[in-house]
Symmetry: D4
Subunit: 249 residues, 8 copies
Amino acid sequence: MSDIKKLLESVQSGNLSVDDALLRIKEKPFDDLGYAVVDLHRKVRQGATEVVYGAGKSAQQIIGILKSLKQNGDKTVLVTRISPEKARNVQEEIDITYYEVSSLAIMGNLPPKDGNGRVVVATGGTSDIPVAEEAALTLEALGNEVVRIYDVGVSGLHRLLSRLDDIMSASVIVAVAGMVGALASVIGGLADCPVIAVPTSVGYGTCFNGLSALLSMLNSCASGVSVVNIDNGFGAGYQASMINHVKGK
Amino acid sequence: MSDIKKLLESVQSGNLSVDDALLRIKEKPFDDLGYAVVDLHRKVRQGATEVVYGAGKSAQQIIGILKSLKQNGDKTVLVTRISPEKARNVQEEIDITYYEVSSLAIMGNLPPKDGNGRVVVATGGTSDIPVAEEAALTLEALGNEVVRIYDVGVSGLHRLLSRLDDIMSASVIVAVAGMVGALASVIGGLADCPVIAVPTSVGYGTCFNGLSALLSMLNSCASGVSVVNIDNGFGAGYQASMINHVKGK
Amino acid sequence: MSDIKKLLESVQSGNLSVDDALLRIKEKPFDDLGYAVVDLHRKVRQGATEVVYGAGKSAQQIIGILKSLKQNGDKTVLVTRISPEKARNVQEEIDITYYEVSSLAIMGNLPPKDGNGRVVVATGGTSDIPVAEEAALTLEALGNEVVRIYDVGVSGLHRLLSRLDDIMSASVIVAVAGMVGALASVIGGLADCPVIAVPTSVGYGTCFNGLSALLSMLNSCASGVSVVNIDNGFGAGYQASMINHVKGK
Amino acid sequence: MSDIKKLLESVQSGNLSVDDALLRIKEKPFDDLGYAVVDLHRKVRQGATEVVYGAGKSAQQIIGILKSLKQNGDKTVLVTRISPEKARNVQEEIDITYYEVSSLAIMGNLPPKDGNGRVVVATGGTSDIPVAEEAALTLEALGNEVVRIYDVGVSGLHRLLSRLDDIMSASVIVAVAGMVGALASVIGGLADCPVIAVPTSVGYGTCFNGLSALLSMLNSCASGVSVVNIDNGFGAGYQASMINHVKGK
Amino acid sequence: MSDIKKLLESVQSGNLSVDDALLRIKEKPFDDLGYAVVDLHRKVRQGATEVVYGAGKSAQQIIGILKSLKQNGDKTVLVTRISPEKARNVQEEIDITYYEVSSLAIMGNLPPKDGNGRVVVATGGTSDIPVAEEAALTLEALGNEVVRIYDVGVSGLHRLLSRLDDIMSASVIVAVAGMVGALASVIGGLADCPVIAVPTSVGYGTCFNGLSALLSMLNSCASGVSVVNIDNGFGAGYQASMINHVKGK
Amino acid sequence: MSDIKKLLESVQSGNLSVDDALLRIKEKPFDDLGYAVVDLHRKVRQGATEVVYGAGKSAQQIIGILKSLKQNGDKTVLVTRISPEKARNVQEEIDITYYEVSSLAIMGNLPPKDGNGRVVVATGGTSDIPVAEEAALTLEALGNEVVRIYDVGVSGLHRLLSRLDDIMSASVIVAVAGMVGALASVIGGLADCPVIAVPTSVGYGTCFNGLSALLSMLNSCASGVSVVNIDNGFGAGYQASMINHVKGK
Amino acid sequence: MSDIKKLLESVQSGNLSVDDALLRIKEKPFDDLGYAVVDLHRKVRQGATEVVYGAGKSAQQIIGILKSLKQNGDKTVLVTRISPEKARNVQEEIDITYYEVSSLAIMGNLPPKDGNGRVVVATGGTSDIPVAEEAALTLEALGNEVVRIYDVGVSGLHRLLSRLDDIMSASVIVAVAGMVGALASVIGGLADCPVIAVPTSVGYGTCFNGLSALLSMLNSCASGVSVVNIDNGFGAGYQASMINHVKGK
Amino acid sequence: MSDIKKLLESVQSGNLSVDDALLRIKEKPFDDLGYAVVDLHRKVRQGATEVVYGAGKSAQQIIGILKSLKQNGDKTVLVTRISPEKARNVQEEIDITYYEVSSLAIMGNLPPKDGNGRVVVATGGTSDIPVAEEAALTLEALGNEVVRIYDVGVSGLHRLLSRLDDIMSASVIVAVAGMVGALASVIGGLADCPVIAVPTSVGYGTCFNGLSALLSMLNSCASGVSVVNIDNGFGAGYQASMINHVKGK
């Protein structure tokens, strides 16, 4: 809001004409590429590494957006849901690191780990790892220390309980699970920090592409659990990073 | 099949005419009351206390069926899903014991406990108790020793773990839970006996009247878990009793 | 985990017998009332005011649980989803304050406001207020300063924009909305703090009792948004409080 | 109805026999190709460029229909949902212009822009463009001036607000969005003209192939919003054109 | 947008301080009653009679809003979804006309009929009339001439065909139908004006409270049909009025 | 069609003016009561007793329709889905027989049984009887001999097999069942006549108000089975009567 | 049943031993190929050409079944849902005619047309033809005269009305339609014979693979309409043939 | 639990330090391979051949797990849901037997058949065989004698009845069926042992990939039936084996 106040003061002082002020309000904060409106002020507003959602964009469109962001000074840019083919095409023009297991690319260096504590990323099974890695890499790209705890589903409780120390000392936890989705409830009951649950589309039959896990997680009887979209590792990682960067008094 | 064989032998030996044989095949094993066909041979076929599904039947219809079964010699009859009002009306003519919390009535005495071992009935929360009691009373009416473990949901794992002895020594387990339905998975992972899971319609919002728990249980990643209809305590108790009466070699 | 370590040390030093140790592990942390297992250590584990889920429990059961908690020393206890009738019955034996609009009762005094910052609770319409108040009162019962912004749905953007200062300075935001559920997306795009979205069952037809808002929120294109169950104001408030109490470095 | 009246008058005047009249009523207004009944009078009835729904028809069938329409004098014909392969096959026999991004072909010239005002076609994201282009090209093929506003989703409100002039001066608006579908609500609240909302199947997980956006749009709390089928850019464009051609008093 | 321009000019000319300008932008256009933010500028922005959504608001809240609108000078106010009891309570303090069949109240006089033409409101059956009347009265409250064609469902085509004159001369058509929902398709094929379809929750079994009709209407194979929420007579009437007031060249 | 031909001939011969002919085509075949368009020619077109769908119509509306039909000479009129209260109100003015178990009323006498053979109406359980009786009474009101076979669900096959003679000699069969819906498949495999299946909303939990039975019946692996709406005993009876009245060569 | 009676009489007369009788009851009526139990008596029981469901069976399995049927004397055998590849493989060993548009094969000659009258098969659009042809060929393979009326959807009513003669003189009608599914309602209102409705999976978005059409058809407000599974042309043809072969008095 | 007791006794006796005890509790019972936590104690806890869920794991991951299990002494290991390609890759390093029809591999020899009796695996049709074989092979790998009864669906009852001896003498029955799912109900009514029902995704249209069969089975009106996930032959076989190994008194 202070931006608008500054603008109004410039008008008042005569340093800015009314029409120019109007123009600035409307045109400054993004770069319109035709097929995409690149949000150049987002970093300022949300204090975050910029993110590009790769699915449904062509390699050329991704290249265009990355160039626009680079010229604007963004240091770290995350590209999510980008296939190996598209990634290779982008790499011919721009320097990015590609992580195949999570279909994710990063342009620029990882920032320093400046969060309040560590973020645990846990999965119920081996098949949940691609989604979990999307969350973990997002967290690392946003400056968080990540502890990975994979394949600790609730049908073998002792595997989970053996990692109790990590769970109880976490700052935030991202719980990734398909099928039964109970991992979030059990972790939510054990931990005393916020738990972000990510249902995955792993499974068959009545898992209904993640619906079963989603409902299970939304009905978690443990307090302190909230949920993101099916397979949305990025969204969970992003919010977990926000929580891990909340400023204490 | 031996019944038909005997019949055929009687025909062969001239002790039974062809038409009488046909008649017996068709008419003997039940009593047609018009609104209901009471199955008098079921006990023989399935070795079980007879059961009457009370919902959708009037008090008068239930009385008629109970009388027919009594005359046929059935000692224990279970009436499920019978409202307090109907139960009172039935009690005016027939001697039954009514269990209000589970909307269930029993005519006659409980049989001796002759199963292989004990059957555990567990619930995730307090609200699941009516369904659990339907299962537990069904089990007792069918000759089983029952151990009740209530309110041990997975969001407070230590409550469940404190009953580990009961769970690990059970012959069969009926796991009753609404909302997240993870109880079945966790118990299935801890126990080494069959687990019959009963989703309940307890909860609100995305519990969708038990659908969330149902899907969660069907996707149980623990082996040895199968599922019955939402709120079907009777069905779970009935099958658990069958398993608890399986004859060893 | 240190509790178990202490216990083991007591065994080693001979101060505790093996059987007593086993007993303590199993029996100490809760009070088994038969119909409910009251979790007496939860406060220690999660640092929170105790919460009782009132739906599906009788007034007598709620009284029993409250007495058990009181004897254990709990100062503030929240009872959610308790009807006016039940609340009156409880009030005859225990001193509680009842909030009718949100069907919520509080035993004991509100704790001091010791969170990191302020928590905004926003609604799309007037009909969403009961759920929002459940969140707001939960937050206050857990020691948070709450700013209420009601009836600022996205079909009249200027109403929401006029509260931009509150939104941009919040520590966490709880966005409560039925029908279209777009409030969470729009706020998520404006704010730079975590947003917990609560779909409500307000609406008719294709709102499908909150399903439309739920899906809309899960698909939020803004980063930093996670979702709880339909009408689950308590769950959102609880997690928002956790986030508002995260310790900075 | 006047057609039938004329027919009856011809019968009355003796210019037409009863049987011939019957025949005309039944056989005149279309050309039966066996696999399709081409509607030759539609243009008269609805004043519109003819449209062929290409999906589920073979290239040969499309060619047959186009030839029949051409012989009947139709100047502009739109073919929707036609794949690049089919389009190439058709082009070998008939002169059509193919638009790959929207899988749409046009036979003949575009008509003059004779609508009441301009029609805005807006999208939430880059991935919604194919559906939006189907709407935009349909509008142009039906004689409308189109303003495209792409990638102005509600998670970055300032992008949308910067185009407020276009939105507020539109005659009709077609709002195309997947996932959260809030675009229609927000635009509906800003504009004072009818808004036709098109949910798209863009997204993953709980977007459920457009269901989430559809429900969101149907529940739009803004007045003046109606909805067409998922991905039905053509339907939205067609109706928007009708509205843009409504005759004032 | 010109409002903001004027404001900026006042700042430039020194007639308005920066802080006052900021204040005006934020506070002017509505009246915050705490439970509702009454939108006083909506009439200006959308040129419409004001509308209050009555469901989920108490009689006292409705009275408060009506008074605020009255003081602001609104002449005609529509209150939708208001029960007979609430209406009676409101009538004790404010002069409103109540229409019981459609659960709708109107404060003030109906405006003159100044639309481009006539609006047809058609229903498939007798049971659809309450929703149709909500649409028809909304249309009349917004200055439209309405032609009602009720009980002309497609299973008796001749009933519909006998009203062909009305259908073919309409400016806009609102088609209200439950169950099969085919009315919209058939009318859409006959008419050459926009058709707004309203699915109703009339029916049983697989009508699924209007879902069957909704899907049927969304899949309408006739062009020029769009759909609003189930039972949303108001929404259809509102948009139909907008279309009937579109200004020709 | 011959009606229209006659009309045209009258025009040709000068016995009828053009405008009168138009009028007759449009106005003759029904009586417009405002709230309902009573179809007076339906009996001629479909050779059937007239039927009034009672749900959603007031007693006064039903009386009005019955009077209109009576004056038109209809001898037998069926009123379906009419509650006991409404029936009593109608009986005060019109002589009807009311069947409470199936919520159905009949005005006039039953016609002679003139079908090709007998129609079997079978149910899976006692609770399906109300729907079955709606079918059976509809059949009797349309001139069919009905054989009722109730409570012969597939979980006790011998009950069904004992009625094999009736099933194999039927002309048509109406199979009414809730829950598992397998009755239609089994009967379809046994019989060699058409089977009309009626799913009922009997059951709980995953019966989903008849959806389970509906899907089960639609997937019937037996040939010769078709399905009507959930609880639509009338529809099944009506079509079964049509089939039982098909004319042989 | 008479078969069993004869068997019993043979036992009584000493012509058959008890064990042989038992054997005959169990083993005679089918040929167990291991992977399939070929039902050799079905033709006797249902008087029909034999049918093989080709989907999910390998070419070798189909060949085995056809050979078994051929040896048993079946003259006409229909194979449904058989892909072109499988058909070619079968043709290498057995003489069948393959119909590619409906993925159907026929072994043997078509039987004489011995039904009561003609069967109309109608479709809403061109894309519904494959399903309609499955119905039409099934009807022809079962001895029926078929009238095909394709692409007469309700959005262009005059196309349908021009075929009114065929519709009104039919013995049975099979109505095949996707998307809106209104064809069945409209035809049901026009015809006075049974209508079997077949929803098709044609369409996109909210057609939900035929669900929209299915619901629409189940809710048909016309009497005399029943429904089969989505895309189940065979089932509709089979039942229509049964109806067309019903014996009159 | 006795393991923990032994551990505590070792601590008490001084044979084990506190830290070592802690370590053992946490680290012993599994082998953490990074991508999977192999559960080495499961055999002890559940007395079962080890099982690896192959879907979602790479051939390399499966090899790693198999090697870890082999080194730990497991004799029989089942790998489910493994494609032919993966199986071939695994076979290059490890000796396994692959069963293509059920996509299942077995490492090691089959154990002796030591169950209480025989387990029947029945299917409704030929297409259900792959799922049935998964169940049957799982049963054999767990030491059970299996009787296969395939293609005995309820639309041809006599096929099923001819196998009555096997059904009535079984110890447990696994009923595998798609589409109508009635097989479980009918078998449940005939047998007097537990029935585990497996819905399959066989079918089309409203079979909804197994949902129809699932609901049908959950609503089974026969007692003693429980259900596992769609296509989950393994789960049914595993539980059936548990039941077949229940120890009698």
